[in-house]
Symmetry: C2
Subunit: 188 residues, 2 copies
DNA sequence: CGATAACTGCGTCAAAAATCACAAAATCAG
DNA sequence: CTGATTTTGTGATTTTTGACGCAGTTATCG
């Protein structure tokens, strides 16, 4: 438990024993059943989730339809960055796509850990750099690629995603209708 | 000189005199003429720019056309986060839209300053949180809004941007053709 | 200041994708 | 195992947006 997080951290930046213990004290472990919500629209986000095992999605509710803004798998950090940092109600939700085990980092405890440990704050900065890079690339795919090309690009760069997430779910993530996505797929 | 940056920092997190001096030692000030490049596609990004005065854009070159991915004004930090962190050649460029004065933070010096000063690293983390929030919202506008709505949303939330940037430039930023944008505009 | 370039608007036409409708297939829950 | 629900595939049609062309206006730069 928390083992996955520990090895993930090693790939970013090593932490001293003290810092690792401090970080652990910010964490609660929890499992969610399939379709359970980690964060519900309207709530203020108080946590950062690290996925030990399983998969989640972030989504907006638009006229009763779920528009997916991101998918998250093992070794991903997940949160609603806007709600977390502004402490305003979240405008989107996070839902488990399958049985999912996460490490929950409490926001206030984490902020205290940032202050107490330069190492931990440095880790936080590096994770944010990765998340910003990923988000930037995703935005660019919308500006540089036509819908069909976005799908091809996804197939080329994240083929595994299509194995774990249904086409219906992927469609809104790519900003494409379900039917068009189905046609793109059969045309390959 | 660096005055704008100093007051901007106050709005994020105060720095001790020592940290502020250390941060200053990472900075070179420079002016760019209109249309001059701050970063050219293919180069490895070594800097973070803080705009003291003026305006810039980040853009990709697609079949000879400039696709704008972001606009930046006074008090904005600008960089190519992917190239900066991976030290791979940048796939996009940064260009001054008018005469622009920036503070250039050298990457290696800044990393050293992060290590030497917890305060500065904390500042860096907070800036990244803001940038990630902004980027996330921009991505969401592509998934949740139709082209026409994206334009309306921009008018509502950043009316000033349209005062400083031509419609032609805004079009690719919104992922819309110049002609469609012109039509949306006249239809309001 | 004057020539050149860039920007904007609008019309037509074509292409792409969305929508609607329905059937088949796969998956899930009891 | 089986009925119910979700997912997927496909056709017909409509809507939206893109592409091209051209004219008028505005900005820019030497």
């Amino acid at each position: 438990m928390i083992r996955t997080l520990n090895s993930y951290i090693q790939t970013i930046t090593p932490l001293s024993d003290n810092s690792w213990k401090l970080l652990q004290s910010c964490i609660t472990e929890r499992s969610y059943k399939k379709a359970e919500l980690l964060l519900k629209e309207g709530q203020v986000c108080q946590s950062i989730f690290f996925i030990e095992e399983g998969a989640c999605k972030s989504f907006h509710n638009l006229d009763g339809k779920e528009i997916n803004t991101a998918f998250h798998f093992e070794n991903d950090f997940v949160t609603n960055i806007q709600s977390l940092t502004s402490q305003q109600p979240a405008s989107s939700s996070i839902k488990a796509l399958e049985k999912t085990t996460v490490d929950i980092l409490n926001k206030n405890k984490l902020l205290a850990a940032y202050s107490a440990s330069h190492e931990i704050e440095s880790f936080g900065r590096k994770v944010l750099e990765l998340l910003l890079t990923r988000q930037t690339l995703h935005t660019e795919s919308f500006k540089l690629l036509a819908p069909k090309q976005r799908f091809d690009h996804l197939v080329a760069t994240q083929p595994d995603l299509l194995q774990r997430v249904s086409l219906t779910q992927v469609a809104s993530y790519l900003g494409i209708s379900r039917e068009s996505l189905s046609r793109f797929r059969s045309a390959r």
